[in-house]
Amino acid sequence: MKGKADVWQGTLALMVLKTLQLLGPMHGYGIARRIEQTSAHHLAVNYGTLYPALLKLEQEGYISSAWGVSDNNRKAKYYRLTRAGRKQVEKEAREWERTTAILARFLQPEEETS
């Protein structure tokens, strides 16, 4: 159980960071919707879990937050990547690619033989 949660935590953080990298400053709701859309609704994000993750990233200094006004005139808290955050996205993305590449090598031969 715990291991699974950790993986999810790690990947959620990467998704958040990547989303902010692509979209620029964004509020929590927007990030959640964006993750949902990007995953083509394969991932149903429980929006509640997002906020502790955002707080953790902020405490680690990868993102910063400030209150702003949304397109349709609602007050919302906007998150933006910091310099450390940008570096972290690159790093984590590279690591993730390497992990998936390794995993893929395990999975591919099976596909070829079948």
Binding site: H27, Y47, G61, K77, A84
Partner: protein
């Protein structure tokens, strides 16, 4: 790195919580979602419902957010602390009782620990003090483990050992210093040239000693203490190279040639001293002394790296064995005894301190038991609160933790108060103890980091100790029953039994302390009832020194005695006056070996030995000591008349059990070649010399106008017709008139001398007694608390009994009997432990009798009486219970 940064932020949030904007953020999240949903065509209700579902449970989200925000464990601790503070504030009576009780218990421990810390624990300010060891000679004949070493023995130890890097010796040195027309007595140290090197300390100015400084022909040099330098040279650096005249005052033995100009070659740093600072104002090189029979040195050595104390002990024991074979005449019974330098310097006070540490430990235990009892009682009344919290989801661990936080908080507050009291107490105690024991550095007893750490650890341990029992007892798994019950029967579980057990333990411990205090008190009272053998009232005593070259010859001493006595006897208010070398009860004793004419020595190598004393004419009359046979010394005894001696009753009984010693002669060796023949002319009553509890020794008195012994220390005893202290100034003036060069060390009354001989027992009796009374009071309070609590809890049952026909006297007796039964059980246990524990007090002061039945009976009786008193009030209250009211309170 990032993780640390996050942890720091969370810690900051925990320590000083700032409001977060989480609610606003969630609100805005919902608004944005609802807006989207509305745009997608939902009704407002649907839009809101959908948004809330997607968000998940807001409470759980909030919780997780908060956990991420701070550090949950610490947050909980903070909450517990806040609620503990609230609980204590709401129950000021309980809080004050518990805190004060613990403040007493912890404060007592901190105070005694301060002394232990200053004397035994704090490292000495020397280089690598762990490797410094003091080496004492031992004397198998006198079973003395702390004897002085002789110079040749020291040299052999130093040269033949394989375990010491270096070894130095030192001895005391008294001298007179003339400044203007005043002659002052000062004390310094004679040290081997390497003394400062062994300790790893260098002079701040000038140089240390060199090996050639020890040669007899060398120029006389002196190194000054910082204090001496500041006092006499104003701290000027040009003191180096100046000369001072040091006249050796204690010419008891050998070593001439100190009445010379000494050149100042060095100044020591202000913190440097190995004994009391006033006993080492200067340092001079120790002259070589060839006698293997004359021990006067203390030896300190620095162990080689990696050598342990047992290793070095074995090494020196082998050397001592070799010396015993080589020099059987002097060294047959001489061994060695090694001790770490800290322990060695504090050895007089160490057993006392350890016992006091035990005593205050017991007081703290009783305080703990008392507060634990209070907590248990409160736990019972808090059952409903705890049950509700448990029903709302608090686990047992959480409840126990909260109760423990409460008790640790109480203990810490108590410890803080105790520390303030302890700081003051320790300083006061140190001042008293320093006077009595001359332990170096005890005056430095103060609250430092170690004492602070000790107090904090003691407080936390105390808090857990008295908190754990009640916390587990009052959060027992059956807690939910408390919600269903009316609250009365919730106390019917284990808590009351625990409280009874605690009170029994308290009474047992208190009895042990009271028994100890009682035995010390009994010994002290016995001491006070012991006649010292002389009349101390209306007596003035003046300590003085006769410096060596000026008074080296008998006629010089005799003419000073005669001049002073003649002038004194003319002073109004003076009845009689006399000189004596060692005043009774002053602690000073000197012994000499002698032969009895016409009788063989006890063994070929060992002649007779007795305490020797020198006294002037009229000494026994002046002291009020009866002369049993023969006569007192007369003023007419002198150089021209036969040399006379007076023995005391103990000596007469020992050596002339069947006849009179009068007319018998003894031969006292003075130097290698000369002796003095003394004829016994009187037998005087015994007096106590070392202390009131120490049996009198055998003693021989020699007349001061005839004695060839060149002792330098004398006491002038003046019998006055009124208050002695009023005469102090006139007596001082007369002595200066008789000889301006005689330094006066001290003026005191006879009563002071007797009182001072009892300072040590009085100090211990006072300390143990005070703590014992404190312990007794705490135990009584504990018993009272338990009894009145159980009466209030049992008022229903009492009501039923009364309704069924029990008389008020029955109820009264019932409650009283319960209290006394508890005390009795505690006393029996206490007596069993006390018999073992009080044996530790025997070595503390002379005259303590362990297992003294009278003390044990009296103490037990007093304690039971107090228990009766403590149960009396609750019993009366129980007897007054109105059955109608008690039963209606249902």
């Amino acid at each position: 790195m990032r993780r640390w940064r996050a942890l720091l932020r969370r810690l900051r949030q925990t320590l000083s919580p700032r409001p977060d904007d989480f609610a606003a953020e969630i609100d805005s999240h919902l608004q944005l979602h609802i807006d989207d949903n509305l745009r997608a065509g939902m009704t407002p209700d649907q839009a809101r419902r959908h948004a809330l579902i997607c968000l998940g449970g807001p409470a759980q989200t909030r919780e997780r957010y908060r956990d991420q925000h701070g550090i949950p464990a610490l947050d909980a601790l903070r909450q517990d602390l806040v609620s503990a503070v609230r609980v204590l504030r709401k129950n000021p009576g309980f809080a004050a009782t518990a805190i004060l009780t613990l403040a007493l218990g912890i404060g007592a421990n901190s105070a005694i620990f301060s002394l232990v810390n200053a004397t035994l624990l704090r490292p000495l300010p020397f280089k690598d003090p762990d490797r410094l060891v003091m080496i004492f000679a031992t004397d198998g004949r006198r079973s003395d483990r702390f004897d002085s070493a002789t110079y040749p023995d020291f040299v052999d130890w130093r040269n033949q050992n394989r375990t010491f890097e270096s070894m130095a010796a030192f001895a005391g040195h008294r001298s007179t210093l003339s400044v203007g027309d005043q002659t002052a007595l000062i004390q310094g140290k004679r040290v081997t040239p390497n003394f400062f090197d062994v300790l790893g300390v260098a002079p701040v100015l000038g140089r240390g000693f060199r090996p050639e400084d020890q040669e007899p022909a060398a120029n006389r040099v002196v190194i000054l203490s910082d204090g001496f330098w500041k006092r006499h040279f104003g701290g000027a650096p040009d003191a180096l190279g100046r000369t001072i005249r040091i006249s050796r005052a204690d010419g008891n033995h050998v070593a001439q040639g100190f009445d010379e100009l000494h050149t100042v070659v060095g100044i020591m740093p202000p913190w440097f001293h190995i004994d009391q600072p006033d006993e080492e104002q200067y340092y001079v090189p120790l002259p070589i002394d060839p006698s293997r029979g004359h021990g006067f040195l203390r030896v300190v050595g620095r162990l080689r790296w990696g050598v342990t104390l047992p290793h070095a002990t074995a090494d020196l024991a082998a050397i001592a064995d070799r010396l015993a074979r080589l020099y059987p005449r002097t060294n047959l019974t001489v061994g060695t005894h090694l001790m770490g330098v800290n322990d060695a310097l504090a050895r007089h006070i160490k057993p006392g301190l350890l016992i006091m540490l035990g005593v205050v430990g017991i007081v703290l235990l009783i305080a703990c038991a008392n507060v634990a009892g209070l907590m248990l009682a409160r736990g019972a009344t808090r059952q409903r609160e705890l049950a509700i919290r448990s029903a709302l989801g608090a686990g047992r661990g959480r409840l126990v933790r909260q109760l423990l936080v409460e008790s640790v908080l109480i203990a810490l507050i108590g410890g803080g108060l105790g520390l303030i009291a302890a700081d003051w107490t320790a300083r006061a105690l140190a001042a008293v103890v320093a006077m009595q024991f001359r332990v170096p550095r005890i005056d430095a007893a103060s609250t430092d980091v170690s004492v602070l750490a000790f107090t904090v650890i003691a407080s936390v341990a105390t808090g857990i100790c008295f908190g754990a029992f009640p916390a587990f007892a009052s959060t027992s798994p059956g807690l939910n029953d408390a919600l269903r019950d009316s609250g009365r029967s919730a106390t019917g579980t284990r808590a009351p039994q625990l409280r009874r057990a605690l009170v029994i333990v308290e009474i047992a411990l208190a009895l042990v302390l009271l028994a100890g205090g009682g035995m010390l008190l009994r010994a002290l009272l016995a001491m006070r009832a012991t006649p010292p053998g002389f009349d101390a009232r209306n007596m003035l005593v003046i300590d003085l020194w006769l410096p060596s070259p000026r008074f080296a010859q008998l006629q010089d001493r005799a003419s000073f005695f005669a001049a002073a006595l003649e002038r004194l006897r003319g002073l109004s208010g003076v009845k009689t006056a006399a000189f004596v070398a060692d005043l009774p009860l002053s602690g000073a004793t000197d012994s000499e070996s002698f032969h009895i004419v016409g009788r063989p020595d006890p063994s070929p190598d060992r002649p007779f030995n007795a305490g020797f004393n020198i006294a002037s004419g009229g000494y026994f009359r002046t002291m009020g000591t009866p002369v049993r046979e023969g006569r007192d010394f007369l003023d007419s005894d002198g150089p021209a008349t036969p040399d006379v001696a007076i023995v005391n009753e103990s000596a007469a009984r020992a050596w002339w059990p069947d006849g009179s010693p009068l007319g018998q002669q003894i031969l006292l060796p003075i130097t290698r070649t000369t002796s003095q023949l003394l004829t016994i002319v009187g037998v005087a009553a015994d007096v106590r010399h070392v202390g009131l509890a120490v049996p009198p020794r055998r003693e021989v008195f020699v007349h001061s106008m005839q004695s060839q012994l060149s002792w330098a220390h004398f006491v002038l005893a003046v019998r006055t017709s009124s208050a002695p202290n009023a005469l102090a100034d006139s007596v001082r003036a007369i002595l200066r008139d008789a000889d301006a060069n005689v330094p006066i060390a001290r003026i005191a009354s006879g009563d002071d001398v007797v009182a001072r001989s009892m300072t040590e027992p009085r100090l211990y009796t006072f300390l143990v007694g005070t703590f014992a009374l404190l312990a007794g009071a705490l135990a009584a309070i504990g018993l009272y608390g338990l009894m009145s609590y159980s009466v209030s809890q049992l008022s229903h049952e009492i009501g039923i009994r009364v309704a069924l026909g029990a008389s008020r006297a029955d109820i009264f007796r019932l409650v009283l009997a319960q209290g006394v039964a508890l005390a009795a059980v505690g006393s029996v246990i206490g007596l069993a432990c006390g018999l073992a524990a009080t044996r530790a007090l025997v070595g503390l002061i002379k005259g303590v009798r362990p297992n003294d039945p009278v003390t044990l009976i009296v103490v037990t009786g007093v304690l039971l009486g107090v228990a009766l008193l403590a149960s009396y009030v609750p019993a009366r209250r129980a007897a007054r219970v109105d059955p109608a009211v008690a039963l209606r309170a249902e």
